[in-house]
């Protein structure tokens, strides 16, 4: 982890987490 821009990778991770979360929610709703 470079200390240059620790915010950048975290921002990307947050967006990924949102997309993955929406996917999980969609999958769960249809599976149950």
């Amino acid at each position: 982890m470079g200390s240059a821009a620790p915010g950048r990778w975290l921002a990307v991770a947050v967006i990924l987490a949102v997309v993955i979360g929406i996917g999980i929610g969609y999958w769960l709703f249809n599976a149950l």
Binding site: P6, A11, V14, A17
Partner: protein, 254 residues
């Protein structure tokens, strides 16, 4: 792992749990959104269980999935806020986006089903149109707080990517405003004292007398005290203004 050398007081576990909280919140909101659409699709209400004959059964697993999603969402939001506060305030502030996400997405459902109702319901559904509009407004208004407050998106904090318009973010402007207020107050006190003196020197009939000058002084001091208590004036500014008022009063009486 704690990386104190870089000035951080959080570890990779905190980052991972923060992301789990975000994903959990996004999943819960998605389930709520899909569940609401399913329920609106059967007329907007449904029931399961109990001794009654049920006219509108809940579609799929929505009867238990929606309540579970509500509590999962609250738990995820709590985890996100708790871990986010360790990563820095801008990350914790992201939790505020859950409100607009919830209300705008559910408001969209209301609006869509108001204009395109399910079979058997004719025309625009006013009962869904009104909550739809209200939900969208409720969701959109707090978004204004997330606009960059006239500054660049890069914050001075270094660790943070976004600069949110948080209270106290513009301390300089507040300080300048306070200084201006203190100067205005001092000028006002000076003017008042000068006019009182002028009145004293004028006709003896218009003399305000020492008693009323004292009353005036007390009123001014009380006003300053109220400003100080309300936080509009700092301790220093309050004392400067108070001194100015007392000085003027001394000149007038002396």
């Amino acid at each position: 792992m704690k990386d104190s050398a870089a000035g951080r007081n959080y570890g990779y576990l905190d980052v991972a749990l923060f992301l789990v909280g975000i994903a959990g919140l996004a999943a819960s909101l998605t389930i709520l959104w899909l569940g609401m659409r399913a329920v609106l699709g059967v007329g907007g209400f449904c029931a399961e269980g109990g001794p009654y004959v049920i006219a509108h059964h809940c579609p799929g697993s929505t009867a238990w999935l929606i309540p579970v999603a509500v509590f999962a969402g609250l738990g995820s939001a709590g985890l996100m806020g708790w871990e986010g506060s360790k990563l820095g305030s801008p990350w914790a502030a992201l939790i505020g986006l859950a409100w607009p996400a919830l209300f705008i997405s559910l408001g969209w459902n209301f609006l869509e089903f108001a204009f395109f109702p399910p079979e058997g319901m004719a025309g625009i559904q006013i009962g869904w149109l009104i909550p739809g509009v209200l939900f969208v407004i409720m969701g959109a208004v707090p978004l204004i707080g997330f606009m960059p407050g006239g500054k660049s998106w890069k914050s001075d904090a270094g660790d943070a990517t976004f600069a949110f318009a948080t209270p106290g973010a513009d301390d300089d402007a507040v300080r300048k405003q306070r200084a201006r207020l203190a100067t205005d107050l001092a000028a006002y006190a000076h003017e008042e004292a000068a006019s009182a003196q002028h009145a004293d020197e004028g006709s003896p009939a218009e003399q305000t007398g020492e008693g009323s000058t004292d009353d005036d002084l007390v009123t001014k001091l009380q006003r300053l005290d109220a400003l100080h208590r309300s936080g509009s004036l700092t301790y220093d500014e309050f004392h400067k203004a108070k001194q100015a008022v007392l000085d003027e009063a001394g000149k007038t009486n002396g």
